[in-house]
């Protein structure tokens, strides 16, 4: 299999709760005053799912109330429907939740995905460019909605080396770093700058991960 083959995320379950119990709403971070309907999704890749949830906030009047990765990733899932991610979007209108879920599924099917960084794709890299942030990730990153952002993920060693290449490849700024260990034991970083810089940084990151995968030991 050639290097940088797309590893498509699998959506394992999608369910809706049109009128969720207020106790449940509170437990999952929603506000019973503003939210009534929930849309829930599990995916076997967490980072594409975060991007997809953010995308939903641009297409529908929904809030991302809950989004968590599961420990040690989808290869150690608690069940066949668990994957490594549970995301919950909330709205007072079930129709808005539906359009939000549509946007999530569309993004997972056609946009955000990991790529194999070596021949057998045992090393995965997520060099994703978000051209325009939604309300969810922009709030976490401390950026404005509409800003571009490079969302870069790889295993610890690869991510660390590649982040250096990415930062030096273009005029970008490190917004937030997620050094290992994270829940899934990957390492992530968020970079911002103008869109071409974010794109150049993301591709430098992907190329560097491939290079580290090709030559893991320098000595």
């Amino acid at each position: 299999m050639p290097v940088l083959e797309a590893l498509l995320p699998k959506v394992l379950s999608v369910r809706r709760l049109p009128g969720a119990d207020p106790a449940l709403l509170r437990a999952y971070g929603a506000d019973p005053e503003r939210h009534r309907a929930l849309g829930l999704i599990t995916v076997d890749q967490d980072d594409p799912a975060y991007v997809a949830l953010d995308e939903a906030t641009k297409h529908a009047n929904v809030d991302v109330v809950f989004a968590r990765s599961f420990y040690a990733g989808s290869r150690h899932a608690s069940g066949p429907l668990s994957g490594e991610f549970l995301g919950v979007i909330a709205s007072d209108d079930p129709a808005e939740v539906d359009s939000g879920l549509d946007a999530i599924l569309e993004t997972l099917a056609h946009d955000a995905c990991f790529y194999g960084a070596n021949a057998d794709s045992s090393i995965a890299v997520f060099p994703h460019v978000i051209a325009s942030l939604g309300r969810y990730l922009s709030a976490i990153a401390g950026l404005a909605p509409g800003d571009p952002m490079a969302y870069l993920v790889a295993p610890p060693m690869e991510a660390t080396i590649a982040l250096d290449f990415a930062l030096k490849a273009a005029k970008v700024r490190l917004v937030k770093a997620f050094p290992p260990p994270t829940e899934t034991n990957f390492a992530a970083s968020w970079l911002t700058g103008d869109l071409p810089s974010c794109e150049a940084a993301a591709m430098a990151f992907a190329a560097a991960v491939c290079d580290v995968a090709a030559q893991p030991r320098e000595r």
């Binding site: 299999m1 290097v3 797309a6 946009d111 955000a112 794109e199 190329a207």
Partner: protein
């Protein structure tokens, strides 16, 4: 038209191309190591079967030559390739333009213009070019008994080899038997039937064309002779008598010349040729040609030593 669905996917695809990893074919699998063949195989010598030996004693054909596994022995293959090469070279050879003059023959050429056309267009090789026909009609001896023609046919090698010897011997034999002989002529790019037009223009009673025959394996030097009584355009192969395999391992040229002269004499006596010609009156002089008896095969010459 494809919509830009995902900027990131397009970027990664471009990166993949830039890194030369966009090959749609899977990486080539390494072949398992193949052991080298032994430098030389010495097949255990086996006696040929009685049938193979008896057959080989009757013919020069490649019978009873054995096999190595499912293949011919290397020696057999090499001999075959060498013999085929001899045949190819003979067909490919062209009579040099000055050859006829050097050997003091009159020279004519057929309507063929080059060697490739000669091989592809037998019909053109059966007629004289207009220039040749005019010149031949103006210069040749007329009203002769025998018109001798030497031609290249399909093996100019044979013509240039034993051709002049056979021609001279044939002319001498004819004259010794009291026949008048026409101007010796050499024809280039000639097919057998060209003798009809040449003989007709010379008003000869018998036309005799001696020409290189289509080579077989290892025999690029064979000559054939065709005789026809009353040559004129439109004669068929039924009107001709022929003798083939005139070479050292077949009929020697001196022997062939004598028999051809006898044939010509028969034609003049019976005023016919071809299937209607009765060979019986001179069977003794024609020797085995009249009888068609057994002649032991001559061993094939080895062209390559292994």
């Amino acid at each position: 038209m494809s919509l830009p669905l995902s900027r990131t996917r397009d970027l990664v695809a471009a990166l993949r191309r830039a890194r030369g990893a966009d090959d749609p074919m899977p990486p080539r699998e390494r072949l398992p190591p193949v052991p080298l063949p032994p430098e030389r195989v010495f097949p255990s010598p086996r006696r040929r079967s009685r049938i193979a030996e008896a057959a080989a004693a009757h013919t020069t054909a490649l019978v009873g030559i054995g096999a190595v596994g499912t293949r011919y022995a290397t020696d057999v293959v090499l001999q075959f390739q060498a013999e085929l090469a001899v045949a190819h070279a003979a067909v490919a050879t062209e009579l040099p333009p000055a050859w006829a003059d050097t050997n003091q023959y009159a020279s004519v050429v057929s309507r063929v213009t080059d060697h490739r056309q000669f091989l592809l267009r037998p019909d053109l090789g059966r007629r004289l070019s207009e220039e040749s026909a005019t010149r031949w009609a103006a210069t040749c001896r007329k009203d002769v008994d025998v018109q001798p023609i030497l031609a290249d046919g399909l093996s100019a090698v044979a013509t240039m080899g034993a051709g002049p010897t056979l021609m001279a011997a044939f002319i001498a034999e004819c004259e010794a038997r009291g026949m008048s002989v026409g101007t010796p002529v050499c024809a280039k790019f000639a097919r057998v039937w060209l003798q009809d037009e040449i003989g007709q223009l010379a008003r000869a009673k018998v036309a005799a064309i001696l020409l290189g025959e289509r080579p077989g394996l290892g025999t690029g030097d064979g000559l054939s002779a065709y005789l026809v009584f009353g040559p004129q355009l439109g004669r068929t192969d039924g009107n001709r008598n022929m003798m083939s395999n005139i070479h050292a391992r077949g009929i020697p040229p001196a022997d062939a010349a004598r028999r051809l002269a006898v044939l010509a004499q028969l034609m003049l006596e019976q005023r016919t040729s071809g299937v209607e010609l009765d060979l019986a009156p001179r069977a003794a002089e024609l020797g085995e040609a009249a009888r068609g008896g057994y002649r032991p095969p001559v061993a094939r010459a080895r062209l390559v030593e292994v």
